[in-house]
């Protein structure tokens, strides 16, 4: 077992984990933050997307020990003081989700997308979201949500 420490959603967390523990399993199983989902085993679906030091990362592509000292934000940490992040609000307003399973990862990717592209075109949004698979929405309303959020985020 190895000890890892990181800041998760603003709180310092320390735990003993097996060295081969993926970050996503540490988040889900040790921290019980189950909003981060696992939808595949080949780093394709993006349901486990979180922010590591502010950048979106598929949490199945990192070992927990690689996140030593990192600042992690998961979907549970996105809303501040009970107020939804504009991206979360936009997904609700624009029906950007159906079953909700891909949604946390999709939102986390989209937040990073808008951070890097403050006023993204539809083409940019579609291109940037290639790594997040949704089987329910056909992406139409996801694209609409991200566009709306980018406008609300001051893009």
């Amino acid at each position: 077992m190895t000890t890892v420490s990181m800041t998760v959603n603003g709180k310092k967390r320390t735990a003993d984990v097996a060295p081969n523990t993926l970050l996503v399993h540490y988040i889900r199983d040790n921290l019980r933050l189950t909003g981060t989902h696992v939808g595949c085993d080949t780093s394709q679906c993006g349901a486990c997307t979180i922010h590591v030091n502010g950048d979106s990362v598929k949490a199945c592509t990192m070992l927990a020990v690689q996140a030593e000292g990192a600042n992690i934000t998961t979907i549970e940490g996105l809303a501040q003081n009970g107020d939804l992040h504009p991206m979360q609000a936009a997904f609700k307003e624009n029906h950007g989700l159906q079953c909700g399973f891909c949604t946390p990862g999709m939102i986390m990717s989209a937040v990073d997308l808008v951070k890097r592209n403050p006023n993204p075109s539809e083409e940019t949004i579609r291109s940037e979201l290639q790594g997040n698979i949704c089987r329910c929405t056909g992406y139409h309303n996801i694209v609409k949500s991200v566009k709306a959020a980018s406008e609300n985020m001051g893009g």
Partner: protein
């Protein structure tokens, strides 16, 4: 008077708050004290005899609690998995349903077939132990392609099904069709492959079994679209536990698309094993297991012929289909290529006679069952590719050809030659609306522009029809269904006026918590935030049939309406008593009960309170305000419409670019347009996936699954799809009290034919799905 958040309003979804904040409760998010982890050892062979399974080393591995095989389940008296719909072949014999044990007993019949269930203190320990199991396999020649499987000399998947034939079924008047063809001036023909698909709900299947030794109760938490049906089958056929000792709970479920209807080996093994070891057992599929074991969809090979007169009027339609059932018959597999397929081959057209024959067969592949649309996408694909081909052969514009042959709005009820009675519709209206939306007339100029740029441009449509709201129980019973297909609901007022609705339908993305609440809000004036919708727990909701076939609103919603009607009836009696009027004088609108011709009125909340605190109350009336209803529909509903696709193809690369999509659907009345449009988007995306990208492939030599991950199976991604233009027409269904039809599958039904008609229009030749760049490029560059 309309009501805020009532029927017809695009209310934002109540369920979204928990999903966007990471507070949903999907199955793998759940854990129980003392929980163990299950892992299935699966067959690496497509077909093999099992001579021996040696568990000795594995049982001694660290952390192993126990390991079970198929023989253990048989010894424990656990029955096999069943197929719940009986199909009768042409010769009067019943379909062949070979044994389907949850885990293999003497042979494995597809790659991924369950061989042993390892239970350990951790998942890693279970996986490690599984590697120590020594299975003595005797590999056998396998067959995965349905045409090859039904040919003489093919490997025999089951002794019980000679020639691999499950059934040879027919529908329609063969003699009339043959006679029409014999004298027809024109005959068009087409051969089609409907490619095998993997459903790919993004949440993998999972199960958590929990046994209470004190009460003897078993609880299965599972990713199910229909928990009561799962309980019924596990109790009645597998003998896992009596229904009163078996609870099935489906919490938040991350998509289904049909794949979570079925009663699978993994779930039944998990709940059985929990009692054997007297500890909770959790199993969660990884994506590889999902590809190997979630029931696949489609996989038809079809030859179709259409007879026409000199004016382009359809005289007769003849269809012959081979349908791949996979290695075993899944829960409703037999019905998909028969009563959910053959009965829709009339499309939107006046066709004097139709004859369809379907040979279903076994192969060494994952079982095939209902996937979004279930038989109707296959039917629409045949009809609309055939219609397009006939129009092209006759050199008639495909839109004009369809308009010439449509059933007209004044011809309902319309009895088809394939035992359906269409209740309402307006097919010319949806076609003409779609023609405007896509600017069909302007296509020629756009095509010329594309040609000037060195591109091929095509346009195509699909005028689909489907049957939803499945279905009148007596009708489906006469066709072989083993269950009734009604739905249940209970509407329960709390004393303070809030409402809990219990429904037998199950939401796994459809938004029932919002849509059903809108019905209550509209009918009873209760604010939508004061309505809770409860589903998915056999200990909470009345026995229900679950969600599939776009039936939840038409059947489940109607059950809610019937329960509401009883609430209103009782409330009128209470209102009459409290306002000292006769019941006949009480009028009701949106939860306000008034005495006709006076200003006296009471709200639903006041009446509900009076029902729970019945100090001043009708003497002969029971207290309380809760009513339940079971609703059995009068008929199927028949959503229909026209979808247009416009594409541009780069002849250098073969890449198909979807430039425009126009969908015009008639879903009858619509409760929440935002949700309905979302369902269309998602359905069309899956249909585009089928036509452009997706396809399950097996190695033809050794039966290995070649598309077993998202690295190999091409899922539609955001940059593969266009924006969709969605419009609706409305002919309210006369078959249910809401006048609704169902919208969940229409997109997946309409889209493949529309897109392939557009692509073949651009290419000037036929190709099969999926129209991958390679296939398109080869079509362009072959002579």
């Amino acid at each position: 008077m309309s009501i805020e958040n009532g029927i017809g309003a695009s209310v934002r979804r109540k369920e979204d708050q928990r999903f966007i904040t990471g507070n949903g409760h999907y199955l793998d998010d759940m854990n129980k004290v003392g929980q163990t982890y299950g892992y299935f050892l699966r067959s690496p062979h497509a077909f093999a005899k099992i001579n021996n399974i040696d568990l000795t080393a594995a049982k001694d591995a660290p952390g192993v609690v126990d390991i079970f095989t198929g023989a253990d389940m048989v010894a424990d008296g656990i029955g096999g998995l069943i197929c719940g719909w009986g199909i009768t072949s042409k010769d009067g014999t019943a379909h062949k349903a070979p044994p389907h044990n949850s885990m293999a007993v003497d042979a494995v019949r597809h790659v991924g077939d369950q061989v042993a269930f390892v239970i350990a203190e951790s998942l890693q320990q279970a996986k490690d132990a599984a590697e120590l199991i020594d299975v003595d396999y005797e590999p056998l020649p396998s067959v995965t392609n349905i045409t090859k499987a039904l040919a003489p000399g093919a490997p025999q998947v089951h002794e019980e099904a000679p020639g691999n034939l499950c059934y040879d079924w027919e529908l329609g008047d063969k003699a009339a069709v043959d006679a029409a063809f014999a004298s027809a001036p024109h005959i068009s023909k087409i051969d089609l492959v409907n490619n095998r698909l993997a459903p790919n709900a993004i949440e993998p299947r999972a199960a958590l079994g929990d046994y209470d030794a004190g009460s003897g109760e078993l609880t299965l938490y599972t990713t199910s679209q229909n928990p009561h049906v799962a309980r019924l089958i596990m109790s009645a056929f597998l003998a896992i536990a009596p229904e009163n000792k078996l609870r099935v709970v489906a919490p938040d479920v991350g998509g289904g698309f049909g794949s979570k209807i079925f009663v699978y080996a993994e779930e039944t093994t998990t709940i059985w094993a929990a009692r054997k070891i007297n500890r909770p057992v959790k199993w969660t599929a990884d994506r590889s297991e999902a590809f190997l074991t979630d029931a696949h969809g489609r996989d038809h090979a079809t030859h179709a012929e259409m007879a026409l007169d000199d004016d382009g009027k359809i005289l007769a339609f003849r269809i012959s289909t081979k349908a791949n059932m996979g290695a075993y018959l899944s829960t409703f597999a037999s019905a998909v290529p028969t009563y959910l397929y053959g009965t829709l081959l009339n499309g939107q057209y006046k066709i004097p006679s139709i004859y369809v024959e379907v040979q279903a067969g076994f192969t060494n592949t994952t079982p095939v069952d209902a996937y979004r649309g279930a038989g109707r996408p296959e039917a629409t694909y045949v009809v609309e590719r055939m219609i397009e081909t006939a129009a092209r052969d006759m050199k008639i514009d495909p839109v004009e050809f369809r308009l010439k042959n449509f059933i007209q709005p004044d011809e309902y009820p319309y009895e088809t030659p394939v035992i359906m009675t269409y209740d309402c519709g307006d097919y010319p209206l949806s076609m003409n609306t779609a023609v405007e939306l896509i600017d069909y007339k302007g296509f020629g100029a756009r095509k010329a522009q594309s040609e000037a740029n060195g591109k091929l441009r095509g346009i195509g449509c699909s005028a689909y029809i489907e049957a939803c709201g499945i279905a009148p129980s007596a009708a489906v019973g006469s066709l072989g269904a083993g269950v009734g297909l009604w739905e249940s609901a209970e509407v329960r007022f709390n004393p303070t006026g809030s409402v809990t609705v219990f429904t037998g339908s199950h939401s796994h993305g459809q938004g029932h918590e919002t849509t059903f609440a809108q019905i209550i809000s509209d009918k009873l004036g209760v604010p939508i935030e004061s309505v809770e919708v409860v589903h998915g727990d056999t200990d909470k909701v009345p026995f229900g049939m679950g969600t599939y076939g776009s039936r939840s609103l038409a059947v489940g919603g109607s059950a809610i309406v019937k329960a509401v009607d009883k609430i209103v009836e009782k409330s009128k009696k209470i209102a009459a008593h409290l306002m000292e009027a006769s019941v006949e004088d009480i009028e009701h609108e949106h939860g306000v009960f008034s005495v006709a011709g006076t200003d006296k009125k009471l709200t639903m909340g006041e009446i509900a309170f009076a029902a729970y605190v019945p100090h001043n109350y009708p003497a002969d009336l029971e207290p309380g305000m809760a009513e339940n209803a079971f609703y059995d529909p009068l008929n199927f509903s028949f959503p229909a419409g026209t979808h247009f696709a416009e594409v541009e193809i780069d002849p250098m690369t073969g890449v198909v670019d979807i430039l425009d999509w126009a969908a015009v659907d008639d879903f009858g009345n619509v409760v929440n347009p935002m949700i309905v449009e979302g369902q269309v988007h998602g359905g069309v995306a899956q249909g585009i996936g089928q036509a452009l990208l997706e396809g399950v492939l097996y190695d033809q030599e050794n039966g290995q699954l070649l598309t077993g991950s998202y690295m190999d199976y091409s899922m539609p991604r955001a940059d593969n799809l266009p924006n969709f233009r969605v419009s609706m027409t409305n002919t309210p269904s006369p078959s249910n009290p809401l006048g609704v039809k169902g919208c969940g599958e229409a997109g997946a039904i309409a889209a493949p034919a529309a897109l392939m008609n557009a692509i073949t229009n651009a290419l000037g030749k036929d190709i099969d799905m999926p129209a991958t760049p390679e296939k398109v490029w080869r079509a362009i560059h072959s002579t």
